[in-house]
């Protein structure tokens, strides 16, 4: 899965849960989950749940802490994918 695919998957999951219409045209990777996308820590757990299913990886809870931006999420998913395909 490329960065772009991961980003699209991320927006699709967020839009489904938050009832928003975010896309790569309007959201930059350094946007904050809270301040820019309005996602709180509780909602983020649900977003992680759907992301893990959609991407086919498992992210342990401790690795979901201190994630502040869209790029932080993508980085975690990329690293997991790389591990699974290594």
């Amino acid at each position: 899965m490329t960065q772009k695919n991961l980003m699209d998957t991320f927006f699709s999951v967020v839009n489904n849960i938050k009832k928003t219409a975010f896309s790569a045209d309007i959201i930059a990777p350094d946007f904050h989950l809270g301040g820019d996308l309005g996602i709180d820590s509780r909602e983020m757990l649900e977003i992680w749940y759907d992301l893990e299913k959609a991407v086919g990886v498992t992210v342990p809870d401790p690795e979901k802490r201190d994630i502040y931006t869209v790029q932080d999420v993508i980085n975690v998913l990329e690293a997991k994918l790389a591990l699974e395909t290594a």
Partner: protein, 411 residues
């Protein structure tokens, strides 16, 4: 239960969810989950406690109470409450906007405001309400708040209620905090008012952040500051006025929230600030306007606690000396702790799950303490969270260190 289990549970139909949650909770109680414990008698350094499935109360040493100064069972305060009941009765009879505001409320609010060098304050029934009060009373979707990632759940709930855009920051990384502020400014210019809240004495480990630098960053960027000093009032500062006095920063934050249920030993909370900010809260904040005013015995208890802070400095001094004594004793016994200035001493254990078993065994032996385990804290940072009281004796503290040491070895 990990987050996956939690989400799966939440997505179940309600009746199935109810059944699952109920069964899960019962199992947790059997495993020693503390919610099942029930105390009896006045809240003090020794108390009677019983388990959920037991009828037998037994005495335990309490090292897990927020009543840091022992004020919840102080003779002077109890007498002042009795006198107040004779004089003023019990309930307030309504919300402060209607009939529930008396001279006693007003006098106490002014007295609490002075603790932070502020003009005025509003009193609320508890810390949760106080946080709802300032967030929903001052902010709306046209503002933005940058909150300490350790903020109380009530702050985060209030932010959602107010619909205010939010950023969280790690108070140990003030460079990142400044970057967030500058980013908001770059995007919105002066159009949005930025608010920021941070904990004074941190509830998880009793430490205090670089508050002076935090305030300076906020000043430089026209950010309105709110200090959550729930664990600071009565425990730190020369005369127990809290984190601002401790760091010589009285009058340097725009708003200060604290509770009257911890070191002050009663109930309720307050938000203090400038005349204008408090005027807004008093007249436009729903949690203040639509909740009954505090009852007279509670007002009398808080007022009497402030008398003691002013007239009997030994309470705060004893707490400070006890904290030092306990920190030394724990370190001498080989425990890893975090040395702070407040009444909270975290004792760290590396092995996940260990602190849960340890606490259960300590309770069985007659020690009541609190723990913080994953997911409240990161893995590897699980801790026994000891709360020291000014009334604990050296003998009691020595006994507790020995108990923890022996039990830790036996596990």
């Amino acid at each position: 239960m990990d987050s996956r289990g939690l989400i799966e549970l939440e997505r179940m139909p309600f009746k199935e969810r109810l059944k699952q949650q109920y069964e899960f909770y019962l199992k947790e109680l059997d495993n020693g989950y503390m919610m099942g414990r029930q105390g009896s008698g006045p809240v003090d350094k020794t108390m009677q406690y019983k388990d959920l499935h037991s009828d037998e109360f037994r005495e335990v040493l309490v090292f897990g109470s927020n009543s840091y100064l022992g004020f919840s069972n102080n003779p002077y305060i109890k007498q002042k409450v009795k006198d107040a009941v004779d004089r003023y009765g019990i309930g307030s009879g309504g919300s402060p906007a209607f009939s529930g505001y008396t001279r006693q409320h007003k006098d106490l609010e002014l007295r609490l405001a002075k603790l932070a060098g502020h003009d005025d304050a509003v009193l609320l029934p508890g810390g949760y309400m106080a946080n709802l009060c300032w967030v929903t009373g001052l902010m709306n979707r046209n503002d933005v708040i940058v909150y300490d990632k350790n903020s109380h759940a009530s702050v985060i709930n209030a932010i959602k209620m107010a619909g205010v855009p939010f950023y969280s920051f790690d108070p140990e990384n003030l460079e990142d905090f400044e970057r967030i502020i500058q980013r908001i400014r770059a995007r919105d210019g002066e159009a949005k008012q930025i608010f920021s809240t941070v904990e004074g004495v941190r509830s998880v480990d009793g430490s205090i952040i670089e508050l002076e630098r935090y305030i300076q960053i906020c000043r430089n960027n026209d950010v309105i500051t709110i200090l959550d000093d729930a664990h600071g009032v009565g425990t730190v500062g020369e005369t127990g006025k809290g984190t601002l006095e401790h760091l010589n920063l009285i009058g340097q934050v725009d708003l200060r929230m604290s509770t009257c249920s911890k070191a002050l030993g009663a109930q309720g909370a307050f938000v203090s600030g400038s005349k204008e900010l408090i005027f807004l809260l008093r007249n436009f904040s729903y949690p203040y306007l639509f909740t009954s005013g505090l009852a007279q015995p509670t007002i009398a208890a808080i007022d009497a606690a402030l008398d003691l802070l002013e007239n009997e400095p030994h309470h705060v001094q004893n707490l400070r000396a006890n904290v030092r004594y306990m920190q030394d004793a724990l370190e001498n016994a080989g425990f890893r702790i975090l040395r702070g200035d407040s009444g909270i001493i975290p004792v760290f254990f590396d092995k996940d799950g260990h602190v849960h078993r340890l606490n259960k065994e300590l309770y069985r032996q007659g020690l009541f303490a609190n723990i913080m385990e994953y997911p409240m804290v990161p893995p590897g940072a699980e801790r026994l969270r000891l709360s020291i009281m000014s009334t604990h004796t050296h003998e009691e503290m020595d006994r507790v260190v020995q108990m923890i040491d022996a039990t830790n070895r036996s596990l």
